[in-house]
């Protein structure tokens, strides 16, 4: 994988539109911790 890891994308049926792109990274890390 290349490119910025926090680039905005739609996952599942939800197109995440965070306040700041960095929040998307934090959200994904939190979700990963729950798995």
């Amino acid at each position: 994988m290349v490119g910025a890891t926090d680039a905005a994308a739609c996952e599942g049926d939800f197109c995440e539109i965070p306040e700041h792109h960095q929040q998307a990274v934090v959200n994904r890390q939190l979700d990963a911790d729950l798995v």
Binding site: M1, G3, A7, A9, C10, D13
Partner: protein, 216 residues
Amino acid sequence: MSEPIKVDIWSDVQCPWCYIGKRKFEAGAAIFGDEVAVEYHSFELSPDTPVDFDGTPVDYLSQRKGIPVPQVEEMLARVTGIAKDVGLDYDYDHVHQTNTVISHELIHFAKSKGRQLEMKERLLKAYFVNGEHVGRIPDLVAIAVELGYDEAEVTEALESHRFLPDVKADVALAQEYGIQGVPFFVIDGKYGVSGAQEAEAFANVLAQVKSERAAV
């Protein structure tokens, strides 16, 4: 002359980041300057959405995800602003939340005619900018006819769902690759790029592929 770099893009017609990412990729490819061969692949973000969802995109997100309406409205305003920055006029007041599987079938139909990229752009514009319905066969046929396709041929293709296996094959391939978010770009079959990256990011990976080819 070397072969163009192949770029496979998984994308959904109802994905706001996919349209924004399309523009950013196109800008990145322009910066790169050499020829690229783009192919879009189907990805269904929400395959269980009804064709005629009774409500707005705000209703859909707030009901489906339990997000308060004011927060959803703020999110949509934010993505609308980001779209504006790349020249796209999103009109969420008129978006028809729908099931996109038949729109993907139409994109595959257009691909069979060598006109996939044109149809992909037209359907994204239909959904986000024009407020057109992209989930019902008559609406999709009208869009295709506007582009010069034969009405009877398109109608038959969509009513018979002749291209549905192609849609599902794309979806299955995405699962096999572990693609969970869109837009997702596969560059030269080797590099995965997720999300609406900045144009420079796309230009850089294309340049990297080119230099690797030259080094071989």
